[in-house]
């Protein structure tokens, strides 16, 4: 997530991003975030 936060800083034109990962025994998790530096 800290990488995504840094990518947001570098990309103020991007509004939304996500962190997603696979999980053992058959699961996945996703968090969607909005860029606090977004300048549309």
């Amino acid at each position: 997530m800290n990488q995504l936060a840094r990518h947001f800083e570098d990309n103020p034109k991007v509004r939304y991003g996500m962190t997603t990962m696979c999980i053992g025994l058959g699961m996945g998790g996703t968090v969607i975030w909005e860029n606090s530096n977004y300048k549309g």
Binding site: R6, T20, M21
Partner: protein
Amino acid sequence: MQTQDVYFIDGVRTPFGKAGEKGVYWKTRADDLVVKAMIGLLERHPDLPKEAIDDVAIAAATQYGDQGLQIGRSASILAGLPLTVPGYSIDRWCAGAMTSVTTTASAIGIGAYDIALAGGVEHMGHHPMGEGADPNPRFLAEKLVDPSAMNMGNTAEKIHDRFPHLTKERSDAFAVASQQKAAKAYEEGKIQKDLIPVSAASDTGWNLVTTDELLRPESTLEGMKDLKTPFRPHGKVTAGNASPLTDGATMSLIAGEGAVKKYGLKPKMKMVSFAFAGVEPEIMGIGPIPATEKALDKAGLKMDDIGLIEINEAFAIQVLSFVDHFGLADDDPKINPWGGAIAMGHPL
């Protein structure tokens, strides 16, 4: 209680080390790794009163030995947090720290908390995956899961089986690109900003660990071609197109809008939605697909609205199954722009 928006204020991690006797953290305790990350994070926010932290959630998949003693609480004491700050432990295997974030964020969102620390640690050298586990014999006797579900490498081979157009060549190409992207990000000083250096004992004295140990920037497609396929004869999953076994810890500061105003915090991002989802255990790598569909649905967004994707790279094929499902290119620049776990490691 009053519901409120939830923000990711800041996040750090330790450099990741190679799991095992040859790794930089072999003589470093797991709890010390996560304590270093906590202290390093809090030092970046000297004006935040530590007693304002409502809770500390720390994930570990093996909660035993140096990851035992209720590591959420014990690491908080070791990090010098006021004794009035409580803490708890979380386990969701690979997504433990993610679950620390979503769980504390939920408490903040309903207004029960204002500020929390959320992170995780896994010392896979000290605690190999499944250490001490005693799987119920019903799993196999009643065919509840395929026997291959217990071995993550086999689950990756199963994804290749299911999607034959996602070839070994594509996996290898994705892996080489991950190494190259990580090397470039390192050269540009991007990754280092959020690494907390760790002093680590070794046979020859103390080292200051400041970079990820497992990077392989010299990787080439040619070199990848003939690597062994340890999970299956003539298989497709190799050490080159998978993440290595890793030791490391992460920590983040999560806060509600009330605390952001009160303490003058500068949020980096706002939580929009989250979701977890289950799939067949023997192809666990496709789990991000239904989780993402659920999270997008809850957010009222489409994949086209998402400009950046940070996806774990347990195996290249696991990422390829995701990009294939959503119609993205293998080398879409919005995916892991600085590389991922194939290059840097993946502490479970």
